[in-house]
Symmetry: C2
Subunit: 199 residues, 2 copies
């Protein structure tokens, strides 16, 4: 086996650990929480299926790559639920720093050249500036909304989330990449908040 292949297989073996990182969101049947590996599959599938929603300059294949890679850092850092600590924990400087160290370690397992290439894609996603990153980030945010809705509330119940908080913590970020999609999803989920006295 070449060194290069050994490094690549070492990275892929390390990536298996993402299957043991659990998120706040549960499966629609509420049988268990979703893990970050299967979540990554879901959002990559969203990127494929909802591609006609993408605005100009979005590279769908690159968005899918971003979404396959985006949560690997959770192997070291864990998932920080978006509604935890009143919505403040998710984007704290400490979490961001820990994720950057994790990205350096994990992508650093890959051969030279490929390591830098994958890290650059992860950083583009994190930066959230390019049309492709905005598209990918919007999908990463909207899938848990639809999962919670399909599951009769899910983590909205657990964290006692109101419609305004959903709009503020999630909606504005989805709308940044996919404004029309957020309008539609917003109307779709609003009745749940109304009927639970949270809107």
């Amino acid at each position: 086996m070449t060194d290069r292949l050994a490094q690549q297989l070492g990275f892929l073996r390390e990536a298996e650990k993402l299957k043991s990182v659990y998120r706040a969101t549960a499966l629609p049947d509420q049988s268990r929480r979703e893990n970050s590996a299967e979540h990554s599959w879901s959002v990559a599938l969203y990127a494929l299926i909802l591609q006609d929603q993408a605005g100009e300059g979005v590279d769908i294949a690159r968005a899918i790559t971003m979404l396959l890679l985006h949560d690997l850092v959770e192997i070291d850092v864990g998932d920080v639920p978006i509604h935890a600590q009143g919505g403040s924990a998710h984007s704290s400087a400490a979490v961001k720093e820990a994720e950057e160290r994790a990205a350096a370690r994990l992508f650093g397992l890959l051969p030279e050249g490929q390591a830098e290439q994958m890290l650059a894609i992860w950083l583009e996603f994190e930066g959230g500036v390019t049309p492709t990153a905005l598209y990918a980030r919007a999908l990463d945010r909207v899938q848990p909304v639809l999962l919670n809705h399909a599951g009769g509330g899910g983590s909205w119940r657990e964290y006692d989330v109101s419609f305004d908080q959903l709009e503020e913590r999630v909606g504005v970020k989805v709308a940044r990449g996919l404004p029309a999609l957020w309008q539609a999803v917003r109307e779709h989920v609003k009745p749940w908040f109304v009927s639970h006295g949270k809107a």
Copy 2:
């Protein structure tokens, strides 16, 4: 919400069920079996990371799409383990027929046009003729080998698999798409079979 978007979100919601289809292969720490959604994420990641192994004519983005979609039919049919019934169950005509019905139902949830497009990609994967399909199929077969090896034998123990059976049921198919990769992986896993009296 437009009918088109409602159909797409209906498909994505149905796809969530793949997270509840469990495979013969366990996670490396043997804590639980792998499900088909997180397996799909793994093999898509393999397609991304091992792309320098791909031969001429392989379209990596299309291979990733194939691998995101390839197991959805298991929502209706379940996973048929490769080593079950002496290796004969996996490609039986009855299983193939059931999978084709499942593909028609599942991709049929999508809007017209997109349904046919996704079904065509699934059929290309199933056909296993194009360079892209051969690449994707090889990765789909090699990931469980590496998972079993990482997990101290995994489903090889359960189904009492010999090195020759691995070569015959899995190796020849991996080698069809990725001959050099199979040579390397073969040498990498052989010691396990030797030390367990199975080679």
